[in-house]
Amino acid sequence: MDPSDPTLLVARAQFGITIGFHIVLAAFSIGLANFLMALEALWLWKKDHAYMDVYRFWLKIFALNVAVGTVSGLVMEFEFGTNWGRLSTKAGSVIGPLMFFEVMVAFFLEAGFLGIMLFGLKKVGPKLHFFSTCAVALGSLFSAFWILSANSWLHTPAGYSIASDGRFVPEDWLEIIFNPSFPYRLVHMVFAAFLGTAFMVGAAGAWHLLRDPSNARARIMFSMAMWIAAIVGPMQLVAGDLHGENTLEHQPQKLAAMEGSWERPPSGQGEPLRLFAIPDMEERRNDYEVAIPHIGSLYLRHNWTGTIKSLNEFPPSDIPPVPIVFFAFRMMVGLGFLMAGIGIASLVVRKRGHLYSARWLQKVVVVMAPAGFIAMLCGWVVTEVGRQPFTVYGLLRTAESSSPVSLSFVMTSFISIILVYVLVFGVGLVYLMRAIVQEPRKNEPGPEPELANETGR
């Protein structure tokens, strides 16, 4: 199939949109589940009911989030067959078991204990309830483990052989699971989930602090979120840099696209840091480039004059769409630095004892509410667009991965999915906003508080 075939492009757009929605929900679930676990632990430990109030406040939002996440994840599990049948046939033996383990290990753990976590505190008592919360939190992390392992294998395949009919055959499961890019991607993504959640929670806390600086529950939200921003924010920058080095080693054309590096600089000049440019795929060069010399070498090669393999050293049919990768990367890094900066600023403000009265910081955090998730989406655009034109990197082209389905089907499903997602996520977002702007009160009710009373003998 021609790489610019419309059926292929629509199928790709459909996958990109469905996974884009899903990944935000999945990451928010990971972050919230672990946040809730911390809250319940603090409640049990300090016996301060305010923690339980914050727990219940976010539990309502968690319930919505998981429900939508389950069904949007279901779509993903089937899209590999409806739209990417040839990839499934060829790579199913390798990525299939990883995805299967995700369901067996993670999804069931989450779903099995979710009911108790949401509605069961009165029925099972605090200890067993805390156990359920931990099971859900652990399940969410396991799910990140398996799905990122499968995703990473597509980026950096290892531990396989290729059969005569072109199928990938597993040879060594440990090599497959712990493929070269997996540890970096896992850490980077889990940090992203924590940061994204921290800024949502922090923004909600800040919003209520701006209205009532004495609200103890809003203080807990804001304070915990700022701790995460201060600790995970800078760590994420390091993790991202290490992930970049891994990409340089295994997916050099992706890294060249991230850097917008068309030509290798003459010896001794080193790689510049391009702050801005408009990459031109036709002419294979950048327009309006603004760059600082040598800085690129510094963070890519950790010296003054090192260079990387440039885009022009690859065949034109093997490089990704450079402008998308280039801009998404800058957006992600910019937001990453901003978030880390806010985290560090909060430390200073906290040290001076102004955390709950620093209105400027609270206003900034409210504006930054979606920053973590936007940065995360940009990061996924970098990595997924950056691995084009391949699905299994270097081995199977995207154009050879799709299902034998006609344009009319793919187009119709694409439009229906967009309509349904906009409606469902739109309504969900309204409910989410409504829940967040409601003041976190003393004796906050959880989701469906009557359910436990009305069920049972």
Partner: protein, 333 residues
């Protein structure tokens, strides 16, 4: 080890069949509750119906994810052919499942009664459409899918036939029956009495329609007919069904309110087993066998090992999750 080579795909097929059956009986029940929203219109009844499945529907639906993941992992060629062939009904089913799951979760957040009714309509129609689509793809599978060289080779519409549409209708009725039996177990007073009447009516309808499916299947393919008319296969199935029907009919008189549901779950399991027996050794008629569609032995072995260890644990804690919310649901005024 030729025996070993045959055994592994067979065990994998067993694991997959188990996952799908578990999905059908678990989510079939809560889809059925959704379908019954069409005939149970009292706000209090609907409130109880929603509460009866709210803590568990998410876990039930996870078995469908397991089925999808299992098909990909253990029989990738079948996954690819089946889903490409069923493109339209599968996408429709997924969208319907989104609608119903989300509207169930959102229904108590609706501020006005009118909006809540809107959520209920979405929940009900989502449940009906998802059930119907599941029946259609089942019928589409039984009637056979054109395929060549490990890829689907049809035009995208060959799933659509009188037979597959009929299967869709049968499954909607069957799921509604499961839902009615579930409500008979979990509710009391007026709603329970109502569910009892509905269950009996739906049971008669299901038996008649199921007989219709069997007769239609005979005309469709002589292989199925031969297999089922083999007395060693046919007689045990029919005997089992008759016993289970008798149990169902007597069950409403007994004090154990879960009995009708379990009897009907038995019907479903029996009918499902009969279908699997008719298809064997094919995974996708008319030609793709389990062995041909199988993933690499190393993949299947990893999965089977995980399945043997993890699924019993999963069943144990999922049962606990049901157990916590056991008992009758009483709406407080």
């Amino acid at each position: 080890m030729p025996l070993f080579d045959e055994l592994i795909p067979l065990l994998s097929a067993g694991a997959l069949a188990f996952s799908i059956l578990t999905y059908v009986i678990l989510d079939g029940t809560d889809l059925g509750v959704g379908i019954l929203f069409a005939v149970n219109r009292k706000a209090r009844h609907r409130h109880v119906m929603a509460f009866s499945i709210l803590p568990i529907w998410d876990g039930n639906e996870t078995w469908l994810v397991l089925g999808g993941g299992g098909l990909l992992a253990m029989f990738p060629a079948a996954y690819s052919i089946f889903l490409s062939a069923m493109y339209a009904p599968i996408i429709l089913m997924l969208l319907a499942l989104i609608f119903r799951g989300v509207s169930l979760e959102f229904r108590d957040r609706a501020k006005t009664e009118r909006r809540q009714r809107l959520h209920d309509v979405a929940f009900m129609s989502g449940s009906i459409v998802a059930s119907f689509c599941q029946g259609v793809v089942l019928g589409g599978l039984i009637q056979g899918i054109p395929h060549a060289e490990g890829q689907y080779s049809g035009n995208g519409w060959d799933w659509l036939s009188g037979f597959s549409v009929f299967c869709g209708l049968v499954l909607v009725v069957g799921y509604a029956l499961l839902g009615a039996c579930w409500l008979y177990w979990r509710t009391e007073d007026a709603l329970q009495a109502r569910s009892c009447r509905q269950a009996r009516l739906l049971a008669v309808l299901t038996v008649v329609l199921l007989a219709g499916v069997v007769a239609w299947t005979f005309r469709l393919n002589t292989v199925y007919e031969e297999r089922w008319l083999n007395p060693l296969i046919g007689i045990p199935f029919v005997a089992l069904l008759i016993v289970l029907m008798a149990v169902f009919w007597r069950a409403f008189a007994w004090k154990y309110h879960f009995l009708p549901l379990f009897a009907v779950l038995g019907w479903f399991a029996t009918a499902y087993a009969a279908m699997v027996v008719a298809l064997y050794p094919l995974i996708i008629p008319p030609a793709l066998t389990l062995a041909e569609a199988a993933s690499a032995p190393l993949s299947q072995m990893l999965i089977l090992a995980g399945f043997a260890v993890l699924i019993p644990a999963t069943l144990a804690y999922s049962t606990f999750g049901f157990w916590v919310f056991r008992g009758k649901i009483r709406a407080k005024d």
